[in-house]
C-alpha cells in the first residue's frame, strides 16, 4: 500500500511533466541523508525527488524536522561532516551529478550558479566588515574583476534590492541596518554572480510580518527580471500560495505529495497535506458573558529603561520609554489581544501588568485591589491567581527538573494541596486538562516536542487554578498544526474554567481565532483598540491595516 500511495501522490516525475519543454535545471532523484547522532543514526531525508525548471519558483513546505532544510543544504553541498548522502542519490545540475563533484567543483558552483539565503540575516553577515566589502568579496571570489568594477557592481546590486540610499549603505556595518535591510543585503550577495538557482530557506521567518511581504515581493520581482529559478523553503502556506508555481509537501523526510500550486490547494490528496491546510488557525472564541467584572485594569502604566549613552567619567543616561502611559481593562472570561511588531512594547506592557517588571508610573488593579505599589513579597499571595505562559517552551522549563517537579513547584510554593498525594493528584489533573497523559511525571522536558512542552507550561499555569493567564506569544515558536491544537486547548480551558487571557502576539490570524477584543500597539503607544472583528475588518489606522494585510494576504 505504501508503494501505491507513493505512486499516486508523490511520483518521482512532476505532475505537470508533460506540459514542460526542455530539461529541468535541477533534477534530484531519491535523495536520502542520514545523520550520525549519539546512539545511532537519524534518517533526516529518506526519499526526496524533485525537479526545478528555469524561471520558476517551487516551494518546499513542511513542519520543522521534515527535512526540507537538509534537502536544500544537500543541493548546496553544505552538509556537516556527520551527514552521509546515500550512494543511490542523484542531484543533477544542468545534467551533471553534483553529489559526485569534488570540493573544488562544488565551490565553483556554490554562490556562483546556485546561491542561497538563510533564515537569520543577523548571523549570516560578518559584523566586522562593511556591507560593501562583503558583497565585493562574494563577486571577486567567482569573477575576475578589479576592485573598482566590483564596487560598481555592488552598488548596482544594492539598487536592485531596493535598499534606500545605497551609496551610504555601502560603507555601513551590518549592525547599522534593520533586519529587513540585512536580508536585502543577503539577497544582493546571493545575486552577485547572476545565479541560475536561488535557494531561499525560510527567508522571512525572522523578520517582522510587515517586512516579510516586502522581501518576498522583492524575490519575486528579481526572479522575473533575471530569469532565475527559485526554491522557496517555508512552513507558511500563505506564502506558498502566493509565490510559488509548484509545491512539494514534505513530512518526516519524504515528499508526501506534490502538484501545481493551484491544484494542490484546490484538491489536496494526501491526508498530511489536508491536515496541514486545515491547521490554519480558525474559528472564533465563544463570546464572553455580558457585563462580567473587570479582573485586570491598568491605567496610565508607564515603563522606561535607562540606557547608557556614552560619557567617560559620568555615564550619561538616555531614557527609552517602552510603554508610554497605557491603559487597558480586561474582563473575566475574556481574551484581550495585545498586538504589535517586535519592539512595540507589548511584552513589556504585559509583564508590567503582572508585576514581573516594575512600572515607573500608573496604577494597576487586580480584581479591584491595587497592586502597582506591592513589592515582590507582597505580590506572592496573588501569584497563584495570575499566571504566565512564555513564548519559548524550550527555555521556559528547567531542564534539570522532571515534569512532575515543574508542575508541583507552584503548588508547593503557594501551599496548595494538603499533602504530597493530593498535590500529585492535582498535577496529574492539570496534565490531563492540558491534553497530556498523566504518567509522564518522572520524565524530563528534553524528551518532549515543542508543542508538548508548551502544554507542560500550560499545565504548570493551570495547576494553580488561576483566574487570569498572561499568554506571551505562546504559539509563535510552534509549528502550524501544533499552533492550532494549542489554540483549541486554550479556548477549551477558557470555556471550562472561565479564565481571562491577555494574549500577546504579532500574528493576527491567531489573534482572530482566540481573542474577543484587541489592542494594537506601536512604539509603546496604543494606536487602535476594539472588538476583534471590527479592528480586523475595518482597521482605522494605516499601521493596523499593514498588520492585517501582512497576516492575511502577505502581498501587502
Amino acid at each position: 500500500m505504501a508503494l501505491t500511495e507513493k505512486i499516486s501522490m508523490a511520483p518521482d516525475e512532476r505532475c505537470d511533466h508533460a506540459a514542460r519543454t526542455g530539461s529541468p535545471i535541477i533534477d534530484a532523484r531519491n535523495v536520502a541523508v542520514t545523520f550520525k547522532v549519539e546512539g545511532g543514526t537519524v534518517d533526516a531525508v529518506k526519499d526526496v525527488s524533485f525537479q526545478l525548471y528555469r524561471g520558476e519558483t517551487i516551494a518546499v513546505v513542511g513542519e520543522s524536522g521534515s527535512g526540507k532544510s537538509v534537502t536544500a543544504r544537500t543541493v548546496m553541498g553544505l552538509l556537516t561532516k556527520r551527514a552521509t548522502v546515500a550512494v543511490h542519490s542523484r542531484i543533477e545540475y544542468d545534467g551533471k551529478n553534483v553529489l559526485k563533484f569534488s570540493d573544488r567543483q562544488r565551490r565553483a558552483l556554490r554562490g556562483d550558479r546556485i546561491s542561497m539565503i538563510f533564515q537569520e540575516p543577523m548571523s549570516s553577515l560578518n559584523p566586522v566588515y562593511t556591507v560593501g566589502a562583503q558583497i565585493i568579496e562574494a563577486i571577486r571570489v567567482h569573477q575576475k574583476m578589479s576592485r573598482k568594477q566590483a564596487a560598481e557592481r555592488t552598488l548596482e546590486l544594492l539598487r536592485q534590492v531596493q535598499i534606500p540610499d545605497p551609496e551610504s549603505r555601502f560603507n555601513q556595518y551590518p549592525h547599522q541596518l534593520s533586519g529587513g535591510q540585512r536580508q536585502r543585503v543577503m539577497i544582493a550577495m546571493a545575486l552577485a554572480n547572476n545565479p541560475d538557482v536561488l535557494i531561499a530557506d525560510e527567508p522571512t521567518t525572522a523578520l517582522d510580518v510587515t517586512v516579510q511581504a516586502q522581501i518576498l515581493n522583492l524575490i519575486r520581482d528579481l526572479q522575473q527580471k533575471l530569469g532565475m529559478a527559485v526554491i522557496l523553503i517555508t512552513h507558511d502556506l500563505t506564502v506558498v500560495r502566493q509565490f510559488s508555481d509548484y509545491v512539494y509537501v514534505m513530512s518526516q523526510g519524504e515528499v508526501k505529495e506534490h502538484n501545481t500550486t493551484d491544484a494542490l490547494f484546490k484538491s489536496p490528496q494526501h491526508p498530511y497535506t489536508r491536515h496541514l491546510l486545515a491547521s490554519e488557525p480558525k474559528g472564533m472564541a465563544n463570546p464572553p458573558p455580558v457585563d462580567s467584572a473587570v479582573i485586570l485594569e491598568g491605567s496610565n502604566v508607564r515603563v522606561s529603561f535607562m540606557l547608557k549613552h556614552g560619557g567617560f567619567f559620568r555615564s550619561r543616561l538616555k531614557e527609552l520609554v517602552a510603554v508610554d502611559s497605557l491603559s487597558l481593562k480586561l474582563h473575566r472570561h475574556e481574551t484581550l489581544g495585545l498586538v504589535g511588531e517586535s519592539g512595540s512594547g507589548k511584552t513589556t506592557f504585559g509583564q508590567a501588568l503582572v508585576k514581573l517588571l516594575t512600572a515607573d508610573g500608573g496604577e494597576i488593579f487586580f480584581d479591584g485591589e491595587p497592586i502597582h505599589a506591592r513589592t515582590r513579597d507582597q505580590m506572592r499571595p496573588l501569584r497563584s491567581r495570575m499566571q504566565v505562559v512564555f513564548q519559548d517552551p524550550f527555555s521556559s522549563l528547567n531542564p534539570r527538573m522532571s515534569v512532575g517537579q515543574i508542575i508541583e513547584e507552584g503548588l508547593i510554593v503557594n501551599r496548595l494541596g494538603d499533602n504530597k498525594s493530593d498535590r500529585l493528584a492535582r498535577v496529574e489533573q492539570a496534565l490531563v486538562s492540558a491534553g497530556l497523559p498523566h504518567n509522564i511525571l518522572s520524565r524530563f522536558p528534553h524528551e518532549f516536542s515543542g508543542g508538548q512542552r508548551q502544554r507542560i507550561a500550560i499545565a504548570r499555569a493551570i495547576a494553580l487554578e488561576p483566574e487570569f493567564i498572561l499568554l506571551d506569544e505562546p504559539t509563535s515558536a510552534l509549528d502550524l498544526s501544533v499552533q492550532a491544537q494549542i489554540i483549541d486547548l486554550l479556548r477549551k480551558l477558557q470555556d471550562e474554567r472561565g479564565l481571562s487571557y491577555l494574549f500577546i502576539s504579532h500574528d493576527l490570524k491567531v489573534v482572530r481565532a482566540l481573542c474577543h477584543r484587541v489592542v494594537v500597539m506601536q512604539h509603546g503607544k496604543i494606536v487602535e483598540e476594539g472588538p476583534v472583528d471590527e479592528v480586523l475588518s475595518h482597521p482605522k489606522t494605516a499601521y493596523t491595516e499593514r498588520l492585517v494585510k501582512a497576516a492575511f494576504e502577505v502581498a501587502a
Binding site: H275, S384, Q387, F444
Partner: protein, 375 residues
Amino acid sequence: MKADVQPAISTSVPPAKGHGNETYTALVWRRLKRSWTGMIGLILVCLLMIMTIFAEFFAPVDPKLTGVGFAPPQTISMTDRDGNFVFPPRTYQIRETEELDPVTFQPIVGPDYENPQSLGFFVKGFEYSLFGLIPAQRHFFGATDGSPVNFLGTDKFGRDVLSRIIYGSRISLMIALTVVFIITVVGTTVGMVSGYFGGRLDAWVQRFVELVLAFPQLPLYLALTSLIPVTAPTNVFLAFVIFVMSALGWAQMSREVRGKTLALARIDYVRAAMAIGATDRRIIFQHIFPNVMSHVIVAVTLAIPNVVLLESFLGFLGFAVKPPLISWGLMLQDTATYSVIGSYPWILAPVGFVLVTVFAFNALGDGLRDAVDPY
C-alpha cells in the same frame, strides 16, 4: 491510508524508549565515554586516588627509614652477575664499600653484588596500619626478604624517593582538594549571589573580585609565608598553607559562576518561577544552582591541577608543609640547588608525578566540559 495526524486536543507522547529518558548522569557518562582523552584522564585520576588512599600498601619502603644518602636508583636485572637468566628478577642494594675515592677520600658507593635482593609482588615489608586501624605488613611490590629497595634512589638523608612520593601524594592531593573545596564553596556562593541579585551589590562585589584578581600573587604568597612563626606546629602550618592558597583562588571561580548566573537569571524558567511566586532562595537553589553545577564540576577538575602545580612550585621556592609531613612541594625544596640536581637528578622524580596528575585532571576536565551540557 491513515496518516500520522495528531488528534486535535490530546497529544501522543513518544513512549519512553531509547535514550530519551536517561537520567542526566547517564547522559553525561555516555558522552564522556566518547572522548578518549577524557577517559584516559578518568582512569589516571582513579589510579592516582587508589595510590593515595592505599599509600602504605604501595610504598615499598618506610618513607622515614634512612640509609645511604643520594643513592642512585637501583636497577632491576633479569640476570645474575655472570649473565645467567634468573627468576624472579633481582636487584642489588647500594652500599658504601670499604674503598675510598682517591680524590675525595669519600667511601665509594655501588651495588652490593654479594647480597642480591629478589623482587616480588605482595611481599612482607615494614609494618603499618591500614586506615590507621588494620595492622598489616603486605606491600604491593618489594624485596621478598623485606629489605629496603630504592627504585627511584634516595634523598640526602637516604630516604626512599619513590615511597616518599607515594606518601607525599596524600598531603599534596589533600591540600589540592581542600583548597578547591574552599574556593568552590566561596566562589560559587559569591558568584551566584552577586549575579542573581545584581545592582549595586553586584557592582561592589565585582570591584572587590577585580581587586583580588589584580593582586600580584607570588609576592603575596611569599609575604604571607613569612607571617607564619617557624615554631608553629605542623598542623597549624598545614592549615595556613591551605588558607594562603585559597585566599586568591575563589575570585576566578566566582567570576565564572556569576557570568553563568547572569545568563540563567534572564531565562524564561526563572521568570516562570517568579510568576509562580517562588522566593529568591528557592529560585537560587532549585533553578540556578543545579544548572550552574555542571560548570562548577568542570571548573573544579581544572582547578585541582592548578593547586597541585602551585603547591609544588611554592615548595620549590621554600614554602611548603613542614616535616614530618611529606608533600611533593616539600620534596622539591631539595632541588633548589643546581649542583644537587646535576649530581643526583633522581630527586626530581616528584615532577613526573606532578606532571601526570596535572595531565590527568586536565584531560578529565576537558572531557567533562564537552559532556556536561547534553541538552
